[in-house]
Amino acid sequence: MNKIIVENLSITYSDGVESLFDITLQIPANNITALIGPSGGGKSTFLRALNRLNDLADVAKVTGKILIDGVDILDPELDVIALRRKVGIVFSRPLPLPLTIFQNVSYGLELMGEKRKNVLNDAVERALRLSELWDELKDRLNDPAYSISGGQQQRLCLARTLSLQPEIIMLDEPTSALDPVSTAKIETSLLELKKDFTVIIAPHNTQQAGRIADYVAFFLQGKLIEFSSAEEIFTRPKDIKTQDYISGKFG
């Protein structure tokens, strides 16, 4: 079942940088879809289009369609807040808010007006367990989020996204600032999470896509060159550019 349908999506920034040209693809539910390609190719722009975070950036023009569960999310009348709760994002650097560990995870729920302490406690515990942080951090929930390691911070950011019980989780090079051990922990979490969520990741290298992705989209200079199952892409790429990229001829 396709969770996200993108048709002829083009995005132009007002300064013309990192635009997308005529992207069409379908992202299936409960799978990990990886967006690969050299940096500056439009992967971040694509991700940020899916929860309308591009609204904050200097986007000049968006054309085409993005349907999530059949709803056109580019509709100007759309409730973007509800969209962003449904489509969560983890950024490339660990970016905890300047709050405590607990407050970082409860932040999204508190924004919705949730004040009941037991509801917040339960939600924080559940999210921290999902990102496998609970055992490490359960005794220091009121410490500042910046007091934990970078790897823990990034998993905290994942927990923060999970606390809203989104349907789609996007990760924009989530492990680019992390050591191999923390990276492995995130990857394990993602393989677990895809049972309940649709995961879209811009992995920080092609190997990562190989380890965890079910589907792979290859972006080059704002264009979608190829999209198919990970197996197809890595064993029988149709486009010579895809082949060159995954074999390391450029990147």
Binding site: N51, L53, L56, I81, A82, R84, R85, G88, I89, F91, R93, L95, L97, P98, Y107, G108, L111, M112, P144, A145, Y146, S147, C157, R160, T161, L164
Partner: protein, 290 residues
């Protein structure tokens, strides 16, 4: 080759040393006048300082007694200025930093604020006289003087607050919005708390200037001689800077220690404001983690 390199190195080290010395001398030079002024004032003013000087009404044509009504007056004027200028200034800065589009209107507002900061204070005084005292009929009063001082203080508060808001990393805003926050929720929960130390700096700079100004209150609220405490915002008041002007130029036979004693009290007033804000600010900064 070895030799040239070595002599180059010594030369560079010598230049480094000379440069360092020059900068140190300049740094000390900026502090010296302040120290000299303070010592001079304490030397001439301290004989006047007594409990009576601080707590009593002036007497004998201000040549004796205390300056209590002027202290209280400056206190009221500072509070009054804060009541108007702090909320307005912070709100304006939030608008400019977080909401305003990069267009012609914003440009004009910014330019107006910059120009407002450059207007001589006596012009504010005349403006306040025209608008608050006469047109709005507040009379020569604490209210009119506070409003006049507020307008003068606004540019300082706005520009420092705006700078403090801009110093909060943009990534915090993006993260907050990505978690479903509205713009205002983001500002209220994340941006403002992080900007508080910077905002406090702006507030205190502005209010200190307001506390020490003479010209804006000259026509709008300051009383030449009023040996009682003001009893409403519509009452005129004595104030330290204007009192100082009066006793330095308008009263013959004024003992010099009373003039310098008044200066000492005004300096102490500003210093106490500074200390309070520094304490609050360092507490807020200690909580900051990025």
């Amino acid at each position: 080759m070895q030799n040239t390199r070595k002599s180059n190195l010594t030369k560079q080290l010598r230049i480094e040393k000379i440069g360092f010395t020059i900068f140190t001398i300049f740094a000390i030079a900026t502090v010296l006048p302040i120290i000299a002024v303070v010592i001079y004032i304490i030397y001439l003013g301290s004989p006047a300082i007594s409990w009576e000087f601080i707590s009593a009404m002036p007497s004998d044509g201000m040549r004796a007694g205390g300056i209590w009504p002027a202290i209280i007056g400056t206190f009221y004027l500072t509070i009054g200025t804060a009541i108007f200028s702090v909320p307005l200034g912070i709100a304006a800065a939030i608008y400019l930093s977080e909401y305003a589009a990069a267009n012609r209107l914003t440009q004009i507002i910014r330019m107006a604020i910059i120009n407002l900061a450059g207007i001589p204070s006596v012009v504010y005084g005349l403006f306040g006289l025209g608008l608050f005292v006469i047109l709005l009929n507040f009379g020569t009063s604490i209210l009119a003087a506070s409003l006049t001082l507020s307008i003068m203080t606004l540019p300082v508060i706005i520009s420092t607050t705006e700078e403090a808001l801009r110093a909060v990393p943009q990534s915090f805003r993006v993260v907050s919005v990505s978690l479903g926050a509205t713009k205002w929720q983001t500002i209220w929960r994340v941006v403002l708390p992080q900007a508080i130390p910077g905002i406090l700096t702006g507030v205190v700079l502005g209010l200190e200037r307001a506390a020490g100004e003479t010209a804006p209150i000259l026509f709008t609220g300051a009383a030449f001689f009023l040996p009682r405490l003001p009893n409403s915002p519509f009452d005129a008041t004595m104030a330290l800077p204007y009192h100082l002007f009066v006793i330095s130029t308008q009263v013959p036979g004024m003992p010099i220690q009373i003039q310098y004693g008044t200066v000492m009290v005004l300096l102490a007033f500003v210093l106490i404001m500074n200390i309070i804000v520094t304490v609050i600010r360092s507490r807020a900064r200690a909580k900051r983690q990025w």
